[in-house]
Symmetry: C2
Subunit: 648 residues, 2 copies
């Protein structure tokens, strides 16, 4: 999956529903009462009234009145939360609440007499549909950066507010320079002014559960000891962990505060002696969690984080902070208190990315189940699509049903991208009732989807010909496939980064003057984020060496605007290869995790080399052998045909 | 050429000899007298006494006495000059003068009672041979960075001196932090203490000549106007140009102050109105140069640079400075004076790298001449080597003779790397009378060399089997060749950087667990530096997009320690490709500039694909057709055999 879309399929509307699904298989006596109490507290749904309407003007008026009360001339409001995460809790959808725009990235600047909303290329249409342009002028986030607009627009002496929880120090730097240029002042607020006027903001209170050793594969104490030793060796007294997925990994806990990613919103301070302070709403902790966490983890309410940072400052402690992803509230508080900040990567990021043997075994099992569900869907699609009555929404709903019926299914890992014909060419397509197209014969259908299973996170894209494909479609598909195979079969020495491998996935397209405008691969968590770092495979430089156990997607594509889109995505895991005779360097390669047929009808055999065809046939043989026992007879028959060898 | 080696072959010993070669074809009436005066002034050779001996102790004593006079407890002395260039004038070989170590990179820290010299992996042996270890403790520049050593070793209250002309702000930052950690002070000196005790320091006074439009292809005024417009558009009043090769390109001038690169040491300030202040010793300017420079270029002595920076400061000017390569003396002076510094790339770097049509035509001509010389050498080697009497030095000398006899030859572009057998495996090998090995049957011989012609700079590596190669050598050579061909034939969209292509040159080696530990390609100047940026092809991230006219080397290799080395290097130029039918992106590829046979005896046909063999045969056909008319009959006969097709 490239970037989040939002599927208008039946995904739970409130956090509470999601929790029920999450905790259902782990009942406990106290649970029912606790859940009922939490559910009552968050029963409000926040999204009533989205889309342009009278409510935007009244909210904006109330917001501006609040600015006046706070002595501010304006405010910078990004889409984001205190953790700089990709998915945010409903409470943090402040930009959507105020403007109507609910894309995954954007920023508004509200001044006394005008306001602008900045979005990137994928949202230029959506922002016009969702916001009232007499209130918010749409701007291009990249072509006209907010800092430039600010420098031109604010007046001398203006006081422009920002919420220090919602910006990293790096991002803030440019805004501050822009205000300085205009002789205005950028002012941190104590409380976000949206929160002052948004009365029914739902708190993120999803239950937090233990993630068993049978899934995590490694004791939290062992993880903490290892990381603490590294902090000690590097001369740090502590590290601030602001990423909730890092905390979930470190403490072997899972939650449900944001959509599609089972993480509990929280902060942590990991100390060089292995102790952890976990700042989390204690109401969220399910019975037994305290004993799971143990004595070395001290639980405190989020409001106490500041005092803990102050204490580090008083001790003149050297503290590791990942300033690329940590709210400037934290780094500034530490610095003011007297701590010495060392800038570096979140210490959990790399060990979290390198899955252990137990995690990998679980992930393989999740992929078998996911592959069976996707294969049932593809067989169903092959039977139903020719009848000409399916739409993109129908297909996405049916795929969700197949997945839901499998074991350990908890959620989708992102909103399904279901694109027929020209919609498949919109890389960040989001199907809605308005845009849903019929899946017609003579087109390509692209489906990018994934699930959160208790034992693993999946993410897979297949492109299917509905009816007979054109020669051009076969040519393009085969070039994408060649790139996909080149990456899957790459052999490279230890120390190689994903950026170094990126061209392998593009070369067959480059040959004829084609390319695709997204990354080739992103990391994937273990029943955690479907997008995780620190590694990635992309044109943009990334110097993190690929290491055994890292999971990454392999998803080259091709998009013909207004016509069709192609993407072939498998998840692959880095593994050590046996050294061939004479090898001088430890060699790495990939294990393919995803199991689902790739449409043979779209492959042009003349473009394939013999080793490529051999890979394709061997992959299909493995898919067939693994999945046949897991599917019904009709699907098995379809699968046998879909995976018959291309080669002689 | 990967990195400079130094060849003990007959290269001019003093600058003055080099000037004679440089200006000989452009005599002028006043020249004789001016040259004689300059030559008298620099007749001293600086390198007498290199290598360990009594002189080091006495120089070190004198240096320490100077530190005491200056109130310093120690001093940081890097190998480098005021321009952070790769080659430095004899005057700037302060590290060699003081320590005996004359490698191309290193740094000494001299304290009152101990001193250390830091070098990287390629110089660990050399530094032990060239320095007295009772005086200078050898340290590893990477494993034990100078800043770490400084932090551990200096005492509270120490005053450690540095020459602000010899460090960039970035490099200095770490040293300053290290001193602060030890509660010591890092102090800028007004005059380098080596200069106070090195009495016969030779000034760099090589003549500066005009580089005609027939070579440069573009008027200096046009270049200045274009760059000035860009400065203006970006809101800069001026840019400081600290790189002498950038100034040489901008003003269409050439000089001879440093070995192997025809640049005049100088600084320049380019203003947004197109005017240039050139800070250069006026004695170096040959007759007619002032009129070549024209009224828009004001010539001033280097001592006036400070005053010019002060004036920019007083005007509160916004000044562009490339802080990655500019001495901190300059940026600090500007800041102190009140200027606003904008950090960015030297504005000459990118346009200099993109050669114009005239430059490319000249470079092609230079490569034909160079290819003829190298082919004569290879034919000679094929005849002589079997007799078993040649050494690495003999070969390098003979190659220089062949090049020298060609038109427009001015100098080698670097000291020839001539490595037989195990010496070929030393990537940064430097042949001396002591290390020179016989070129024996049953070994591989690697020669990496290049020349400065008035119309272009060359750089080429060939590896030749002396006698019958082993199957392993053929396998390795063929894998290097496959990488070389993969890069030479790459087709990629506009916007692609060299880093993205790097893996193509390594993939055939990676397949079997092999690799090489150097970059794949570096930029090359137009009768200028053999190493130039801003682009490069390497594992290390580089985000500069390759653009038409950029020249880059294509030089994968393989090195078996203690046995043999293989490298195949051609220069290639980025060019636009004709768009194939259906192409959606402008496509780029390469034109091969270097013309010389690649040893067929080392190619294992079974490892080559049909397109690779076709490329190899087509390249050889082009080499044969182009060079046959330029060589003697015996060489032509050898060339015909050396380039006969591999394919059917």
């Amino acid at each position: 999956m490239l970037v989040a879309g939002i599927l208008a399929a039946p995904t739970p509307k409130t956090n509470a529903d999601a929790w029920m699904a999450l905790v259902a298989p782990m009942p406990s006596p106290a649970l029912g009462a606790q859940l009922a109490a939490l559910k009552a507290e968050t029963a409000q749904t926040w999204d009533a009234g989205l889309g342009p309407g009278d409510w935007t003007a009244s909210r904006l008026d109330a917001f501006r009145a609040e600015l006046v009360r706070s002595g501010l001339s304006g405010f910078v409001l990004p889409r984001g939360d205190e953790h700089q995460g990709e998915y945010v809790a409903p409470r943090s959808e402040r930009l959507a609440w105020l403007t109507g725009f609910n894309g995954s990235a954007g920023l508004a600047i509200i001044l006394k007499d005008r306001a602008a909303i900045f979005v990137d290329g994928r949202y230029t249409l959506q922002v016009r549909n969702q916001t009232d342009q007499t209130l918010f002028e749409p701007r291009h986030l990249v072509d006209e950066p907010p800092a430039d607009w600010l420098a031109k627009t604010v007046r001398r002496g203006d006081r422009i507010g920002y919420d220090p929880w919602l910006h990293t120090a790096d991002a803030l730097h440019r805004l501050r320079e822009a205000c300085a240029q205009a002789e205005a002042e950028l002012v941190a607020v104590q409380r976000n002014p949206v929160d002052a006027v948004w009365s029914n903001q739902p708190p993120p209170l999803a239950p937090v559960i233990a993630y068993g050793i049978e899934f995590a594969g490694r004791d939290s104490a062992a993880k903490r000891t290892e990381l603490a030793a590294r902090l000690m060796a590097d001369g740090y007294a502590a590290a601030v962990i602001a990423a909730p997925d890092a905390i979930a990994w470190l403490l072997n806990i899972r939650g449900g505060d944001v959509p599609h990613t089972p993480l509990p919103l929280s902060f942590a301070v990991l100390r060089a002696d292995g102790q952890v302070d976990l700042f989390i709403d204690p109401r969220k902790l399910m019975p037994g969690l305290n004993s799971h966490l143990g004595n070395a983890v001290r639980v405190a309410p989020p409001a106490e984080l500041g005092a803990a940072l102050d204490a580090l400052g008083r001790a003149k402690a050297r503290v590791l902070v990942d300033t690329t992803s940590t709210a400037c509230w934290i780094s500034e508080r530490l610095e003011r208190a007297g701590a010495r900040i060392g800038r570096g990567q979140d210490p959990c990021a790399l060990p979290k990315a390198c899955k252990n043997a137990v995690e990998l075994d679980n992930i393989r099992a999740a992929h078998r189940r996911d592959g069976a569900a996707l294969t049932r869907f593809l067989a169903w699609l092959a039977a139903e699509a020719p009848k000409g009555r399916l739409t993109e929404l129908d297909a996405a709903r049916r795929l969700l049903e197949f997945r839901r019926s499998g074991e350990r299914f908890r959620d989708l890992s992102f909103s399904t991208i279901s694109g027929a014909g020209a919609n498949g060419a919109i890389v960040h397509y989001r199907v809605t009732a308005e845009t849903s197209r019929p899946i017609e014969s003579g087109t390509l259908y692209l489906v990018d989807s994934g699930a959160q299973y208790l034992d693993g996170t999946t993410d897979v894209t297949r492109t299917v010909a509905i009816g007979a494909p054109t020669a051009e479609q076969r040519d393009r598909f085969t070039r994408v496939l060649k790139g996909h195979i080149a990456l899957a079969t790459a052999r490279f020495p230890k120390g190689t980064s994903g950026s170094q491998l990126d061209a392998l996935a593009r070369r067959a397209l480059w040959e004829v003057g084609l390319d695709f405008d997204h990354g080739t691969g992103h990391g994937v968590g273990s029943y955690l984020s479907v997008h995780e770092g620190p590694h990635r495979i992309s044109k943009a430089p990334n110097t993190v060496a690929l290491q055994p156990g890292m999971i990454v997607s392999d998803e080259p594509g091709y998009y013909k605007t207004g016509a069709y889109g192609i993407r072939i995505e498998n998840l692959i895991a880095v593994r050590e290869l046996e050294a061939p005779a004479g090898a001088e360097r430890p060699l790495l390669g990939f294990e393919v995790l995803t199991l689902a047929p790739i449409d043979r009808a779209l492959v042009e055999p003349a473009l394939m080399t013999a080793p490529e065809t051999a890979w394709f046939d061997a992959y299909h043989a493995r898919v067939r052998e693994t999945l046949t026992p897991l599917v019904d007879e009709a699907t098995a028959a379809w699968l046998a045909a879909a995976t018959r060898p291309m080669g002689g």
